[in-house]
């Protein structure tokens, strides 16, 4: 296990007791405001010394209350993007960015200043001081500072919250590349299910200082029981897929266990494994194979279960090849279509609705 956290830290009025294990990659911490996400990240960073427990990263014990071991923060070699930017006000943006470099081992690999500036669009800011930067600019510099410090571990506390969609779309693929091409473990706090789905290898859901649910991202995010935490719009399934081929009209064909899916061109080589997220909300259920529809992705499936809540909606869980899909439809439609477990149906997924942000390799 690459990241193993098992800590307890009681505070007045807030009792943190969190244990989880994660196999490298990106571990997403997910949960409502005030459930202890930042506290956990602080414990991993060494800024907080928990009352008891153990923290092990990549086989190295960073903290062990019983052995009175508490590796000081500066020896942990972290890139921590704080929830507030925490830029050094007396240094220029450039000096902020390169601050960590001088303390990093000379041979540690990592991106160059230019690469980071390009990625984050902060080249024009290099000679300014942080005081006059806009909120998003500050946050981007903070991300750059963490990336440039040649960290052995990345801690990202809502790094993209202050950024616009376009900028997010540029940074997310970079984080994916980091995840796939390095073995830097990352702890990623976010309120955005789309971000988590795209990036996370493992998801840890916190609720009032406790772990409510933890496991591989596709499992946790496809769990109908998670609908409440994720919000209705974000419920869905994450399905493993393989890139089959790239078509001339800009579509990429993926094969999943239940058939094939088309989505806008991916730059992944044919044969590569990938993951596709299919939101329950984006799936229409049809009794008969539909024709004359603009939706390209139509997969045969078998209804497994119908779960109704208090509202007018029903979650339909379907078996589709080896995978399970979710569809969120109205109770009225379920009745009209006479849906019942065991029934053969077609899941209609708009190709473009399998959107770019919801696809992650790996």
């Amino acid at each position: 296990m690459s990241l193993s956290v098992d800590i307890a830290h009681p505070l007045a009025g807030f009792d943190l007791r969190v244990a989880f294990e994660a196999p490298g990659g990106i571990t997403a911490l997910f949960g409502q405001s005030g459930t202890g996400k930042t506290t956990v990240v602080n414990a991993v960073s060494g800024l907080l010394r928990p009352r008891s427990g153990r923290i092990v990263v990549e086989g190295e014990t960073l903290f062990d209350a019983e052995r009175r071991l508490h590796l000081p923060t500066h020896k942990r070699r972290l890139g921590y993007v704080f929830q507030e930017a925490r830029l050094f006000p007396h240094l220029s943006v450039r000096q902020n960015l390169t601050y960590g470099l001088r303390f990093a081992p000379a041979d540690a690999p990592g991106p160059s200043l230019d690469e980071v500036c390009d990625l984050l669009g902060i080249a024009p800011l290099l000679d300014r001081r942080p005081g006059g930067l806009s909120g998003g600019e500050k946050q981007r510099v903070a991300i750059g500072r963490a990336l440039l410090s040649r960290p052995r571990m990345l801690l990202l506390d809502e790094p993209l919250a202050a950024l616009d969609t376009a900028r997010k779309q540029e940074i997310l693929p970079y984080l994916e590349t980091l995840r796939d091409q390095t073995d830097i473990p990352m702890l990623y706090v976010s309120h955005s299910v789309a971000e988590v789905a795209r990036l996370a290898t493992t998801v840890v859901v916190l609720e009032q200082g406790r772990v409510a649910r933890t496991g591989p991202a596709e499992r946790v995010l496809s769990d109908p029981a998670m609908v409440r935490q994720l919000g209705l719009r974000e419920a869905g399934a994450v399905v493993p897929a393989t890139v089959a081929r790239h078509h001339d009209d800009g579509l990429t064909e993926l094969s999943v266990s239940g058939g094939r899916l088309f989505l806008p061109a991916m730059d992944t080589a044919p044969g590569s494994p990938t993951r596709v997220r299919i939101l329950a909300h984006d799936v229409i259920v049809a009794r008969d194979a539909p024709t004359g529809l603009s939706a390209l992705n139509i997969l045969p499936a078998t209804v497994l279960a119908l779960r109704g809540g208090e509202g007018p909606g029903v979650i339909v869980q379907m078996q589709c090849g080896d995978d399970r899909l979710l569809a969120r439809i109205t109770r009225r439609s379920a009745t009209a279509l006479e849906l019942a477990p065991g029934q053969q149906v077609y899941a209609v997924v708009k190709s473009v609705s399998v959107a770019r942000t919801d696809v992650g390799a790996g």
Binding site: S45, Y80, R86, L87, F88, H90, F103, R145, L155
Partner: protein
């Protein structure tokens, strides 16, 4: 200008500058260290240390000078030891005047720096630690630049105080022209002479001019440092 002040008076001006500059320069590292300890650490005897630092402010300067004389005089407990061990003689030398000035100015210096340290957001120091900076490196690259205005304020306060210090100095190292006769001692000497007020006034003007120059320079420096620290 040489005509305006006599050679002995110039000597006093030069000596005062030398004494004050050394006093500030040598005590500054200690001042920063002690201010940091008082601002950031919890330790036994903290209040005692704090009290000791403030003592020269509370005691009449004559008393401080007398205590210095008892301690660092040639026959004093430490004075003899320093002389034998390091060949460092303080009594009745300009070095002693610098010591007296440093000690009298120390509380002012420490207070200013301490206030500045207390105003530094520890979150920035934490951020530096996450980027790999060890404690001393954090101090040198984050804390120190951020407290620079306070350090400058402390140093200039101390310098001004050192330029004006009289009671402890004359009690400790006497008033020997060329050796320990600083500007204030020279002024005092003139004030002992009926009708020499104008002579004293000339020295006062020099003293004020020097200190004001330092003050204005420090304001400009500190303003720049503040503007930097404000990040604009």
């Amino acid at each position: 200008m040489t005509g305006w002040l006599g050679p002995e008076e110039w000597q006093a001006v030069a000596l005062s500058l030398k004494v004050s500059l050394w006093a500030v320069a040598l005590s500054l590292p200690f001042g920063i260290f002690i201010a940091y300890a008082l601002a950031r650490w919890e330790f036994r005897g903290k209040q005692v240390l704090n009290g000791l630092v403030h003592l020269p402010l509370i005691l009449p300067p004559v008393v401080t000078g007398y205590l210095l004389l008892l301690t660092f005089g040639r026959r004093g407990a430490l004075g003899g030891w320093l002389d034998e061990t390091f060949g460092l003689v303080l009594a009745f030398r300009w070095t002693g005047a610098a010591l007296a000035a440093a000690i009298m100015a120390f509380p002012l210096m420490v207070r200013a720096i301490r206030l500045a340290i207390e105003a530094v957001d520890p979150k920035l120091e934490e951020a530096a630690a996450t980027l790999g900076a060890a404690r001393l490196q954090v101090f040198a690259t984050v804390t120190l630049p951020l407290i620079l205005p306070g350090v400058i304020a402390g140093a200039v306060l101390a310098f001004a105080k050192a330029m004006g210090e009289f009671g402890a100095t004359i009690t400790f190292v006497s008033n020997i022209p060329g050796q320990t006769q600083t500007l204030p001692s020279a002024i005092y000497t003139f004030l002992q002479v009926p009708g020499a007020e104008t002579a004293a006034l000339r020295l006062v003007v020099v003293s004020v001019a020097v200190a004001m120059g330092a003050l204005v320079a420090s304001e400009l420096l500190a303003r720049r440092a503040i503007r930097r620290a404000a990040g604009a």
